[in-house]
């Protein structure tokens, strides 16, 4: 019975700690909360999309592709040739979707959903086939600015397409006229 009392006391103490922490704690800057200093009209971010064509043509990695050690690791290393077939930098404004046409006719749609604290952003992406079924209906990513992620697998001309997607800070001198 004494042990039961001890356990109940511990549980009560834990409950009170939770209550105090949630009721009186300062509002924490959550990584998911929108940043009040978020830009409004002018794009301060851009999404960089490298479109690589992976094949086994025995030609190595295109010199225009910057250092990407991922391509030498499985499963990417199962292709010996990587050619840069497209490079796009698309300005991003919150909740304004942007599209990039891919070599296979599909469209990569990106949308900056939120600018988060500590240099993070939430990005939506999708790959659609105009007039056809979606290839990748939804991809939601929380990424630190400058960090890349990869979407791969689309068949294209005897190989596959590898999309390297990275949100970057937009240079101040960049013009919004380049919006696609």
């Amino acid at each position: 019975m004494r042990a039961v009392h001890l356990g109940l006391t511990c549980a009560l103490a834990a409950f009170l700690t939770v209550a105090v922490a949630t009721a009186e704690g300062p509002p924490a800057p959550s990584g998911d909360a929108p940043n009040p200093a978020a830009p409004s009209a002018r794009a301060k971010h851009e999404v960089q999309v490298l479109v690589l064509h992976a094949t086994n043509a025995g030609k190595g990695i295109d010199k225009r592709i910057r250092e990407m050690p991922e391509l030498r690791r499985p499963p990417f290393s199962s292709y010996d040739t990587y050619r840069l077939v497209g490079e796009h930098s698309v300005p991003l404004v919150e909740n304004q979707p942007r599209s990039v046409r891919l070599p296979n006719g599909r469209v990569l749609r990106t949308e900056l959903k939120q600018i988060l604290a500590d240099g993070y952003v939430r990005l939506l992406a999708a790959v659609n086939q105009p007039g056809g079924k979606d290839f990748l209906p939804l991809l939601e990513v929380k990424a630190k600015v400058g960090q890349a992620f990869i979407v791969a697998g689309q068949k294209y001309q005897g190989g596959i397409l590898v999309l390297v997607i990275r949100v970057k800070e937009r240079p101040p001198e960049a013009s919004d006229q380049s919006d696609k």
Partner: protein, 195 residues
């Protein structure tokens, strides 16, 4: 193996048992499975005994620790631990304490942005991703080993009608998340086309 585990349909089991009786090779295989099973059971039993022995030795050492031992207040620690109510209460308080630690940590303003692990139940292995329903929302967290918060978190994926998988490609100091979609529609079971 299914025969040994009695997982076969009765008619199939009967058929195979006849085969085991008549075929020396099959009989040998079946006997091998039986011996392997016995061995596994024996090892499990020995390990359980060994674990019990450790507990006994620890408790004996505590009991022999003298009257000044903190666990002795008219009641031995062993009997105290044997009380189901006490054990349950301690487990409950331990679980609550863990919950408190999580809540306090997630509201800690110095803790940086909460990683996707706070939202998602768990990181999912690539193999299970590929077998998951295509329309299911998929969540996975990818941690940058150099930082406390993950650099990139795949928070949700809808693979639509296709199979797909999420995995990491490690490049030494950092890792890059990869969403790989199979460029073939998932087989949905024989769609009928008009002739």
């Amino acid at each position: 193996m299914q025969l040994y585990d009695s997982e076969l349909a009765p008619e199939k089991e009967l058929l195979l048992r006849r085969r085991v009786q008549t075929d020396a090779e099959w009989r040998g295989v079946f006997e091998g499975l039986r011996q392997a099973g016995d061995w596994v059971r024996l090892v499990a039993l020995q390990r359980a005994d060994a674990a019990d022995g450790i507990a006994d030795r620890v408790m004996q050492a505590l009991d022999e620790g003298g009257a000044g031992a903190p666990v002795e207040r008219g009641r031995s620690a062993r009997s105290w631990l044997r009380s189901p109510a006490a054990a349950g209460a301690m487990l409950a308080s331990a679980a609550l304490a863990a919950a408190v630690a999580l809540v306090v940590r997630s509201t800690d303003p110095q803790g940086g942005p909460p990683g996707p692990a706070a939202r998602s139940a768990a990181a999912v292995a690539p193999s299970s991703r590929s077998e998951a329903p295509a329309s299911a929302r998929a969540e996975a967290a990818f941690a940058d080993p150099l930082e406390s918060a993950p650099a990139v978190a795949i928070e949700a994926v809808d693979f639509g009608a296709r199979h797909g998988t999420i995995f990491m490609v490690g490049t030494g100091a950092t890792s890059t998340p990869v969403v790989w979609v199979m460029d073939e529609p998932a087989s949905s079971g024989g769609r009928m086309e008009p002739l």
